[in-house]
């Protein structure tokens, strides 16, 4: 199949589908005689992506595939098509979502421990109804609490390809020498440790509170030394 025709079909299919399409899904549109392989499709995507430059829409890849979407730059105008649209979420919901995203799999109890307050059932239900989170298993402790994780729809909604693209989680600031006297003076001078953590797999116990000196350029330096605090009891 000539590249131009292939491009046209892929463009039309992506615009016709109501959800993102993966390469295998696109490949399924063709018959064997069309002789269209994944590389051909990848090239078509590439070419269509470039063709969007300077236009009001863009072709992006999110977790569940490729989609055309309205560019952020013009969305303010386009959004007037929908006068009433709820696009705001409560802090409680966003914090719960953040904990599930960064610490999954996580139980409701563990979320409550970090947030210091109970998680309303309605929040969990909303997140599940939006299909942003789902139960991925159960923890083997009394009560067998459900473990929550995020879904592809969550990533799609927030325009992400994978969890790795989430904003990096802020590093915990160092805990100074536990001497209260010292702490009062020393702690004030400690810079904020801003190490970027790339992975959402980063779990609570994996948070190393590292005694490294501040390194302005060291955003990516692996600071995975042994934990030095004993407050995790």
């Amino acid at each position: 199949m000539e590249p131009e025709r292939l491009n046209n079909i892929v463009e039309a299919a992506l615009l016709a589908a109501q959800q993102p399409l993966t390469l295998p899904m696109l490949a399924a549109l063709f018959h064997e005689e069309d002789g269209v392989g994944h590389e051909d499709l990848a090239r078509a995507i590439e070419s269509l992506t470039q063709a969007c430059e300077g236009r009001g829409v863009e072709l992006v890849e999110v977790a569940s595939g490729f989609r055309y979407q309205v560019r952020e730059a013009v969305h303010a105008w386009v959004a007037r098509l929908w006068a009433e649209r709820q696009t705001k979420y409560s802090r409680a919901l966003l914090e719960t979502l953040a904990l599930i995203a960064y610490r999954q799999p996580i139980t409701r109890g563990e979320i409550e421990q970090v947030r210091g307050v109970a998680v309303a059932t309605s929040i969990v239900r909303t997140l599940e109804e939006r299909e942003w989170v789902r139960v991925v298993g159960y923890r083997d402790v009394p009560g067998k609490p459900a473990l929550f994780g995020t879904t592809r729809q969550f990533l799609d909604y927030f325009n992400l390809k994978s969890l790795d693209q989430l904003p990096t989680l802020a590093e915990i600031r160092e805990i100074p020498d536990p001497d209260p006297q010292l702490a009062l003076t020393a702690a004030a001078n400690l810079p904020v440790a801003g190490r970027a953590e790339a992975s959402a797999a980063d779990s609570a116990d994996g948070d190393s509170i590292s005694p490294n000196p501040p390194d302005p350029a060291g955003a990516d330096a692996p600071i995975d030394g042994p934990r030095t605090t004993e407050d995790a009891a």
Partner: protein, 287 residues
């Protein structure tokens, strides 16, 4: 162009432009007497009416503590427990007055603060000094942990997201007719169906269930189709030499079966003369 939202403009810019553009509006912390309150008051003293609603803006005791610490620009590691506890208790008192259903978490936090304060005040036996950790450490750890995810929630909220910042682009599909694909069938399903129908019909009982060459059955169909024109066909034309001996045998057996089943007629005018075959019924004779 002046009122257009700049591409990639930050949220602060949006807030000012919110009135004229369809941009997201900043959510007020609270609405007091019809007036939105966008900022948490800088003073500790808050009119009790306002406090009631402002407290709803806090996501719990950790959030409230963080606010108290941050409001005074204090390093989180460096909590002056006594002062923070005093302020915290002030809030709790007002909350108690205003909201009977004050969340237990706030009271638990008050107890924790009181305990930390008392432990800091108590003299410790010299041998334990330096071993026992700062009584504030656990609280500090929790505050830090909470603050991380509070920030993470803000970061997620800041991501461009569907509906608010982006939208699906789609084109109309004229002639939206659905291509129907037939359902897949597993051979096993078919065999199970056959097993059941055989059981039902008790065919196993009075039928020879020994190996029946199914290829003969198929060849019967092939032969019938060839004879489907209703004309006489010479016996030899039904055989395909390229199939080899097995193929010839299969064809021959199928002819015998067809004859036995009264589906074909076999004719020979005279001994050793040519043999002709003909279907006993054809589409033309069927009505």
């Amino acid at each position: 162009m002046s009122t257009e939202p700049l591409p990639g403009a930050g949220t602060a810019a949006d807030a000012s432009a919110a009135a004229e553009t369809p941009r997201q509006q900043e959510m007020p912390l609270a609405v007091v007497l019809g007036q939105p309150i966008l900022q948490i008051p800088q003073d500790l003293y808050i009119p009790p009416d306002a406090l009631e609603v402002i407290l709803e803006a806090f996501e719990g005791p950790l959030d409230l503590l963080l606010y108290l610490i941050r409001r005074q620009n204090l390093n989180i590691l460096d909590i002056p427990v006594a002062e923070i506890t005093r302020q915290y208790m002030n809030y709790i008192d007002v909350m108690r007055e205003m909201r009977l259903e004050l969340a237990a978490e706030y009271l638990v936090m008050a107890a924790i603060l009181a305990e930390i304060k008392s432990r800091l005040l108590l003299p410790r036996p010299p041998q334990e000094e330096g071993i026992e950790e700062d009584p504030r450490a656990e609280l500090v750890r929790r505050l830090q942990e909470y603050e991380r995810y509070k920030k993470a929630a803000e970061d997620i909220d800041g991501l461009p997201r569907m509906e608010r910042d982006l939208d699906n682009a789609s084109a109309f599909v004229p002639d939206h007719k659905v291509v129907k694909l037939p359902p897949p069938v597993e051979l096993r399903e078919m065999l199970l169906a056959l097993r059941d129908v055989m059981h039902r019909a008790e065919l196993y009982g009075h039928h020879a269930v020994e190996r029946e060459p199914l290829s003969v059955r198929q060849r019967m169909g092939d032969v019938l189709r060839k004879l489907g024109d209703g004309a006489f066909h010479r016996f030899e034309t039904l055989f395909d030499a390229t199939e080899g001996r097995l193929g010839v045998v299969v064809t021959f057996l199928s002819l015998l079966e067809l004859a036995k089943d009264r589906l074909i007629e076999i004719m020979q005018e005279a001994p050793l003369a040519a043999i002709y075959l003909k279907a006993r019924a054809t589409a033309e004779t069927a009505d």
